[in-house]
């Protein structure tokens, strides 16, 4: 089945009507997608640290239990940190929602196929790990039907969203780590 969803539209949907939610965005195209939907002080985009998006989101979710915490990352980044899904299950943070934007490619390194292109099914992995909700999203109707789950369901929530692998223009957010860190902390304190 050929993917039909556009990743920019998907990430814009995931970040719409976010309220006070904070987002950790994993290395690569997801960071450009989040920037394209509008730079936000409570988006922390990783320009490295591959495999770190989920455990960083876990630390934040445990520290901020009353706030919804999103992790938005790619299939390659998620594959490098699969063990962190098991670590999430030890703590079962109710406020953590993870979305993998799965184009079955390493997009930043020449569009090489990732393991999901060979049949690895990340939503089944998450289900087996013990996520409260773990589902694959293929179509816009399924995405719309999953948005309330993404925003509100008791977690941990895991969505694997299949998207087209089309090349898209780069939209770059700030990449100075200290700046990203300081503005995130300031924004968090201002609406605590």
């Amino acid at each position: 089945m050929e993917p039909v969803l556009n990743r920019r539209d998907v990430v814009a949907e995931l970040l719409s009507n976010r309220g006070e939610a904070a987002a950790i965005v994993g290395l690569g195209a997801c960071v450009w997608d989040a920037a394209a939907s509008g730079d936000h002080p409570l988006n922390f985009g990783l320009w490295g640290a591959m495999g770190g998006a989920v455990p960083m989101g876990l630390g934040l979710a445990l520290a901020q239990p009353r706030r919804r915490i999103y992790v938005i990352t790619g299939d390659g980044e998620m594959l490098m940190g699969l063990g962190s899904l098991a670590t999430v299950i030890v703590k079962r943070p109710h406020n953590l929602a993870i979305a993998v934007i799965d184009n079955e490619k390493y997009g930043e390194t020449g569009m090489q196929r990732t393991h999901t292109a060979y049949g690895v099914d990340l939503s089944s992995v998450a289900l087996g790990m013990g996520f409260s909700v773990a589902r694959q999203v293929n179509h816009s109707e399924e995405l719309r039907a999953s948005l309330k789950t993404w925003q509100e369901s008791s977690g941990p929530v895991f969505l694997n969203i299949k998207v087209k692998a089309d090349p898209l223009p780069l939209v770059l957010p700030p990449r100075n780590g200290v700046y990203l860190r300081d503005r995130f902390v300031k924004a968090l304190k201002s609406n605590d």
């Binding site: 950790i24 770190g52 960083m56 445990l62 030890v90």
Partner: protein
């Protein structure tokens, strides 16, 4: 650990636990090591501390960064072999100047009988150093808590990356009944 492989209760884990709680550390993540057992048990018994077992030590580095973003102090515990698993993730702490406190129990030092532990026992301090983590070594039991207090305080108040390495002379040697 005694020569017979039995756990003998010692004092330094209690003193380290007290240092960490006095600094309001409330997330403690780890890949376990025999030498960390008592400290992990103390943290597990404290309802004010989230203890988080990791599948790989690098998760703890990212977890600590996320905790700090959320206003919470974290400590990451590991055996010397785990230092090899955290190298790239340390670029997150370093690039963004996240405070980081790591406690490492050493294997592969004098008296080691498992040759497989020797490479990381030898490499851990250098690897941490070149990765931008300041290293303090506790060679005697009565140094451990003091060094932990100093290192953790510097990490959290000055925004530094600090590690305390607890020597095998403090932890003891896993004997494998040899």
């Amino acid at each position: 650990m005694s020569d017979s492989g039995e756990h003998v209760l010692v004092d330094w884990p209690i003193a380290v636990y007290e240092e960490l709680t006095s600094l309001e550390v409330s997330q403690v993540s780890f890949v376990p090591d025999a030498g960390l057992t008592q400290l992990i048990n103390l943290c597990n018994a404290d309802p004010a501390i989230h203890t988080i077992p990791l599948t790989s030590e690098e998760e703890g580095i990212a977890l600590s960064a996320g905790a700090w973003l959320g206003g919470v102090r974290s400590a990451v515990l590991m055996q010397s072999s785990g230092v090899g698993n955290i190298v790239n993730m340390l670029s997150l702490s370093r690039t963004c100047r996240f405070p980081l406190f790591i406690l490492v129990t050493m294997r592969g030092e004098s008296g080691e009988v498992n040759e497989w532990q020797v490479p990381m026992g030898k490499g851990a301090p250098t690897i941490l150093d070149v990765s931008g983590v300041n290293v303090r070594r506790a060679e005697k039991e009565d140094q451990v808590a003091r060094l932990v207090g100093q290192a953790a305080r510097t990490a959290f108040t000055c925004g530094k990356r600090e590690a305390v390495l607890i020597s095998q002379s403090v932890i003891g040697v896993k004997s494998f009944n040899k």
